[in-house]
Symmetry: C2
Subunit: 418 residues, 2 copies
């Protein structure tokens, strides 16, 4: 009892020290004291707890450089494993990571999310089981993280009125998966997990204000303010895809409205327009591809553009202009230090990147773009899985969970097993 109380009082220090080691911002005891602002005695006492719990390990003495060489501290990322999955409109990926977010193995499966939550989650769970079996000597699984292509109420892990996921509204996703694996589960919008992946393990490390824009079949954004994911009042933040850009457009979006950015400039729109172009005889390359495959995708347009197809380049530039116009409002409002373009189209089309850059640099406030970097997301395809793992580990190492971990030797409690 007194030990538990004692832990409660120390837990903020413990979380702080663990974060410093985990994110590589402090590698020795003196660095920990300096960065945390805690006294050396306090650092030593707290560190003993983290060493006892095998969350941190202390290495050998380094070579002396005059004075006593400090031992190197390291977060024991191999102490546990995390199962992760990322669902898009036309497929999902599953993976296994360590506690540091490093992907040990991952796989992709073509899948239609409109198959509904039961079938989709069961398929994901089966694939995760298979993957876990194939990976073999895996550490204890301590959590599961899932990204979904729509708004999610983060506290409950339930989708909220997702425009492109019929049947998923309010589905108890967390309970469904927690019951199967007996570990705690966290669920978020997949663009949020992608942003988190780049923020914590990618090119956006150390960036405080980030706008991550996924341009795949649909268009969505993940917003980071002050170093933290901004989810908004209903978990709907980042929904740039359903901004109305041409209300007089006759094209109806999956969300039911007309003229949304996504239905005019997303991957679905590119595929649709590509078929028209191919059938109209305006692009030999696209026509040949359509004849071969029986359909065209946004990826076909990006590849044809790379090979020099003028119509494909024009389509991608047009999409980039529409996306850039909406992003210029976002840049003025948020003044991010970095905009990352991810997703099949965003991360790989030079035309989209160039058009977005041109529009945003021209139309946003000079001060807001003076040091703004607009770049493709280097992690793109893996950012969502890595971010989902990060989300899980952040939650596992939150104060309440960490107290349980240090008391019971595991972060998983009885409440997680239902």
């Amino acid at each position: 009892m007194s030990r538990a109380l004692d832990l409660d009082e120390q837990v903020d220090d413990l979380v702080l020290l663990l974060d410093l080691v985990r994110h590589g911002r402090a590698r020795t005891r003196p660095e920990l004291a300096r960065r945390s602002g805690l006294g050396r005695t306090v650092v030593s006492a707290r560190l003993t707890r983290l060493l006892d719990a095998d969350l941190v390990v202390e290495g050998e003495l380094g070579p002396s450089t005059g004075g006593r060489a400090p031992r190197e501290l390291r977060f024991r990322a191999e102490a546990g494993a995390v199962l992760v999955a990322e669902v898009g409109a036309t497929g999902f990926a599953v993976g296994v990571t360590d506690l540091g977010g490093a992907l040990r193995e991952h796989r992709h499966r073509a899948w239609d999310v409109s198959a509904g939550p039961e079938a989709t989650l069961d398929r994901i769970a089966d694939d995760l089981e298979d993957l876990r079996g194939d990976v073999g000597d895996v550490a204890p699984i301590w959590g599961l993280g899932l990204g979904l292509p729509g708004p999610v109420e983060f506290a409950s892990g339930r989708p909220v009125a997702p425009p492109i996921m019929p049947g998923w509204d309010g589905h108890p996703v967390r309970e469904h998966l927690a019951g199967r694996f007996g570990v705690p589960v966290w669920v978020d919008n997949e663009v949020n997990t992608m942003a988190l992946g780049e923020l914590r393990h990618g090119v956006a490390r150390g960036v405080s204000d980030l706008l991550y824009v996924k341009i795949g079949t649909g268009i969505g954004a993940g917003l980071v303010t002050g170093g933290r994911l901004h989810r908004g009042a209903q978990g709907a933040a980042g929904d740039l895809g359903h901004t109305a850009v041409h209300e007089d457009s006759g094209i109806v979006c999956r969300c039911g409205n007309r003229g949304c950015l996504e239905v005019l400039a997303g991957g679905g729109a590119l595929a649709r327009d590509a078929v028209t172009v191919a059938r109209g005889g305006h692009s030999g390359r696209l026509a040949a591809r359509l004849a071969d495959a029986g359909e065209l995708t946004a990826r076909d347009v990006v590849e044809a553009a790379r090979e020099g197809d003028q119509e494909s380049r024009r389509m991608l530039e047009h999409a980039g202009v529409l996306i850039g116009t909406t992003l210029s409002v976002a840049v003025n409002l948020v003044n991010p230090a970095m905009v990352l373009l991810g997703g099949q189209v965003g991360a790989s089309s030079d035309q989209v990147l160039a058009a977005v850059r041109e529009i945003v640099y021209r139309r946003s406030l000079p001060l807001a773009t003076r040091e703004l970097r607009i770049e493709p997301s280097p992690l793109s395809g893996r950012a969502g899985l890595i971010g989902a793992a990060t989300m899980v580990v952040d939650e596992l190492l939150s104060p309440a969970r960490l107290v349980r971990w240090l008391q019971d030797g595991s972060p998983v409690g009885r409440a997680d097993l239902t």
Copy 2:
């Protein structure tokens, strides 16, 4: 020395307890213990320090309701005073508040901000001196807060490339005023201080995600995410006024670009269009007013609309539609719980409010608007002054300053007096 070290270790608790009392979230010792998560013994020990420093007072015993009645705790807002000023494009306001942000006295002066920093800041300082003299028995002045109509680098208190303030770029505003009054000075964009005023003392209390839109001569926004002001990577966040809405418009904005939202829908645009309408014989009311006064302002348009003038109503509706269209992107991106319209036009035009509501509710994602409140800012004219005081007190009660306060009996150090 040991007492100072001791203070350093306790200061996070002290800030937490003081915030709970100051914001009315805890009024008794048991409430403090419950809300802070600290033990009762710790609460009592820390509270003694705050009582000794006269920052908190403990009232008489209340009537017993069975058991011992707890004494009521109160933040001693009267312990110090704060000088505040808010600069707009066409005038500034000065005021004196207590530490709770309550305005004791305030005044407005018509003034052209393009007169430059030296003349403007000297005039403000003179008016603050006069006001302080007139108020009389004022507590010690412990800080000065200033809102400016442009981007400000908060850490240095310097304007950064402000579009409508020629000569102010990089001016050492803080040093200028600190030298005159011998107190610490904090400077921010005036829309940020307005947002802070409503967030902490107005209708947005308890709101975590807020978008405050000032529609005066210009148009600007203050963004609150996760309960904190979001200033962005260069302090330029919230600049919706210079979003391009009609690039093919021939009208050049004060910022140098064409077709900005502000130059088409701000108060300056309304005044300009009102003159055209009056001269063209389309509005007897506006023509009469123009003949009387020799000029027309946005306020004239708002008043004429209230009296039934159709052309004025049409102009305000048009402005509202343009503003609403830009805001719908902001609402989709941020998913705020509340949008407040402030400024001379924003807080008082029914037509602008109605048009903004209609456009945002129609064009933003249903989930993002399901519980969204769009309202005029009730504090509007005073929100900036109250927010500036709040900014100052927040900084004075930050850990480093609080340590000094408790040691020296004053939050003002030698470094502030230059």
